[in-house]
Symmetry: C3
């Protein structure tokens, strides 16, 4: 099977080390510690630089860090045989992505020709990796680590351009990044998934599903994301009452979203049962959807309404839209990122337009908000399509259809367990493990 | 089997959405952001309002948040087939409860007719949900999500009355809430469990036990609760040295408690082995028991003595008292909340009376401490009994005996796994999955 | 089998309770709350005592706390049948160790004859337990809880002497404790493992390996350690820019380390696959190795170079050195602490010597740095050897070879699960469960 050269022995180490060494060289040239003598390019510090201490944002940073590495990593461990890749490749992509993001975001804000690293900057670097981890969800199980490293480089580079456009040129508000992270990451990933469409998986794959314990591991990711989302949406808000507003809006939106996600899950499922896919994902849609307006004066009940609607849309999306996207549009969205990040991200962008139009944010401009949403979607779809084409080149070690959703193609998997799982499932997986 | 209408298709969505919509309406009328211009109704801010910034308590809040959603949620995943419900229904109840708690606690402290949401208030909202999650442990596996939502509404409403009485009328000290959360939540839940007594479970149930991996998941809950308990007990203490005292007392009480819980577990078990039930639960009793005195000047060794005794009492309770409660009093306490929250909560209340009598807290009054303990127990037992009677009404979808402790009655459970578990256990569960 | 009296019924409770009671008595005599009127013995508060508030370091403390209890605890759960012991005994040792560490570290810094407990002091107490948890990794599966409690007492006592020598006498820099915690803990543990050498395990043991789910649990530990390592390395740095520098250096070192660990893992494994042992451990080597220089002006790229090299050395160590240590030197290092803490710790010490020699730390002295490294290694090897000899005394309940790496010798293990695992593994474990 010459088309599938999945042996990573040379490709992966060379790509990974080359990227890291290039990155270190760029850091040597461009990156220094922030000595606190900034010339004020951070919008963040404009109003408050008289009292910000270097470590003030550190607890917020750690919450975001947990979301990136535990939250996204474990959320994707729901697949029965793909847990090593989910949490392990998540770590790889995020660890590289944060370095690359620090460079790509930093070049737009040079200070005496240098990127000065502060806690604010590493929060943003973590943020930039979230776009990749969202897109990773769309192609989970169907891509090689090398393909994903390439996606990381390209997606973060393009993200940084769009972010600069939205924040600095359009001066749009998107404090919790509904548009520039969630919608962008989702549609970028869906575009990649479309380009990498696999007709052979049209009728599903036996490993594309969960077992009891893998669903439990995924709940670790869900709950950490849910808990720390107020930090995500408020970390780069203006210190003080703006930050408090962002925390409270997100806290309440998420709480309301849980109720609607559970209610709709029960409503649409057989005999009123709850479906773990909805619980793991749709309960988070309230955090996505309130992102753009998080620091606006939308009122606690306004935040709750946004969360309520997001939970409904997201659950219905998982139930009715995802199958249609796969069968009719050739978009095989493994984790359903369209339902968790895509539609709720657009909802967040629209809510932001309305809120700004209603004067809920001093100095906001509804047209600029709309332009920001359009820009984010445009960069995502075009950038994702181009990135997908590059990832489709036949020498990046992508797995053949029958080895999708299976750790054992890229990981040493404990042998006894493989045996057990076979005996457990009363099924013959041996064809999946044939030498390819 | 007409008495057991466990199909949740209409009941659950209607109850959940109705509660959420009512809540949103109440929020629209009553709830606003705290703009920092409080008229000083928070006892918290009395002495220190000159320097409190809106986000100062945020890291403490996040620690408490983790205890509520990861701590309680995973602690209850020890049952072999009830992990989805444990962590999933925990999320549901806490997400609704924090909204309801914000309203119920807030109406006692209106400011210009409004409830002003601050970090302090959302910490207290999280606290109010802890009472429900403790009671949930007593009835775990034997109640439907609808029953539990009803319990959430009633328990938090009654809690808020008792809390107001204890804190504002009696002016008793209970910074770590040994009495008003732990003892209250435990005895409320035990009263509910008594009313919902199931003779059919007198001889146990095959699913009422753990497997190796479910015990591991439960340890995630245990350890997060254990680590962040100092935040629970100090979050609403007066800033500065009172808060430091609460942290140190809790840290040391918990550490001493671990040693006594392990020692007694080994002493009472076959061949001196350790029992996971004790390790998962009794190691936390020191955090409960030191709660009332946490910010008092009891000395580090005083805190350690309280922890030492709590670990002993709690472990002995699991070993010798829980079986007696079930067989003689008809109280089937699934998680043993009497041992983790009930007795240690009373111990905490008693320690508070003694400490105040010894002058360890400026301005304390031992009689008021005793009244607070009595009030908490009284509200718990009466409130729990009434709530239990309402929950016993036959149309809330409670599970029949044979489907207790089994996720598959309210959740879509991965099919293959069900097969595996059956084949694994060499047992025929099929009767449990019959249509009911 | 008289040589193996593994029944813990009397030994363990007596040892545990005796240690705790002695500790409480010592606390009653020596330990008080820090009232903020310190005479300035903390090097930490020298420059900044005019503005430090008692709770400033609390979020940092909680991050370190998570590393100790979740990080170390779950990292060691990779063994298929030793998860209860890994996370449970980790809790026991750390809970006792932090009390003992508070005493042992405190006696070098008495203030009016008292140890005044502050957040700074409990961070250091947590740190002292890390040495024991590292050594625990070297002897994991082959020691009884009683042996390990004895090791805890001795290792922390000796650690406190070396720490005092390094910090106060030599005045060496080791902010992230590459030398005094990581290298010390690793070589102490390796010395103990050498003394406790078991020829019977020369050819391995069927339980000395992972299964799929145990590797997933271990990743919880890995990721929490990875995320919070910046807090570990900066917690006791001087507040402000030193602390920021320590955070950024550690963040970047760890990120670079991930890339090199993944690359080398793929390079040395069969068909370029990734090995979970490397991912779980070598990705953390960058945090260890950058510890000594974390608060020095080594530049972001300098930190990344250290991380890159650490990831390479650590992965190669797991692949090529661990088997040699076991077969040629009689050092059976269960978790490979030599690769995660030993070699990277020495690398960190050497990097510190070079950095100080290059003037990257004001007031540093390269000779003192070298003396600190030598002292840490010397105390570790001699202390570990003596401790190993005491632990080898035949009445501490150590397990016989065939019961190594098996929870069921010291824990009640759910019966059904044992059955299942046997049926699963198509193997007869019954000999391991015979009464011994």
């Amino acid at each position: 099977m010459p088309a599938y050269a999945t042996n990573m022995r040379m490709k992966f180490p060379i790509v990974a080390l080359a990227l890291e060494i290039i990155t270190i060289i760029l850091f040597a040239v461009f990156v220094v510690y922030d000595d606190g003598k900034s010339h004020g390019h951070d919008s963040h510090s404009n109003e408050t630089h008289h009292e910000v201490k270097p470590m003030d944002l550190y607890p917020m940073f750690q919450d975001v860090h947990v979301m990136i590495f535990i939250g996204f990593g474990f959320l994707m461990t729901f697949l029965k045989r793909y847990g090593f890749s989910s949490v392990g490749v998540n770590l790889l992509l995020a660890a590289f992505g944060l370095q690359w993001g620090l460079l790509m975001q930093g070049i737009w804000h040079l200070d005496d020709g240098k990127i000065k690293v502060s806690i604010f900057k590493i929060i943003n670097a973590d943020f930039s990796t979230a776009t990749v981890l969202i897109s990773f969800g769309a192609v989970l199980g169907k891509t090689s680590p090398v393909q994903l490293l390439i996606m990381t480089v390209l997606e973060i580079t393009i993200f940084s351009i769009n972010e600069h456009l939205v924040a600095t040129v359009l001066e749009a508000n998107d404090v919790g990044a509904s548009m520039i992270i969630h919608a962008y990451g989702a549609y970028f990933g869906l575009a990649v998934a479309r380009v990498l469409y696999r007709p052979g998986l049209r009728n599903g794959h036996e490993n594309d599903g969960s077992v009891y314990h893998s669903d439990m591991f995924a709940m670790i990711g869900t709950v950490f994301l849910w808990m720390f989302w107020p930090s995500f949406n408020s970390a780069i808000a203006d210190p003080g009452f703006s930050q408090l507003t962002a925390v409270i809006n997100t806290y309440l939106s998420l709480a309301a979203c849980v109720l609607s996600a559970y209610a709709i899950s029960s409503l649409v499922e057989h005999k009123g049962k709850l479906d773990m896919v909805h619980i793991q994902n749709a309960t988070l849609a309230g955090g996505v959807a309130v992102g753009t307006c998080a620091d606006m004066n939308i009122g606690p009940f306004g935040a709750m309404l946004i969360g309520l609607v997001a939970g409904i849309i997201s659950t219905l999306g998982f139930k009715y839209l995802t199958p249609v996207l796969a069968s009719n549009l050739g978009i095989q969205d493994t984790c359903g990122v369209h339902n968790l990040h895509g539609m709720p991200g657009i909802l967040g962008g629209l809510a932001g337009i309305v809120a700004v139009a209603l004067g809920k944010k001093e100095g906001g401009n509804a047209a600029m908000q709309a332009a920001a949403l359009a820009s984010s979607l445009g960069f995502a779809l075009v950038g994702g399509a181009i990135t997908g084409l590059i990832m489709k080149l036949p020498f990046w070690g992508q797995p053949p259809d029958q080895n999708c959703f299976d750790d054992s193609i890229y990981w040493e998997v404990p042998e006894e367990e493989e045996e057990n799982e076979e005996s457990l499932a009363h099924a013959d997986h041996s064809k999946n493990k044939a030498e390819v």
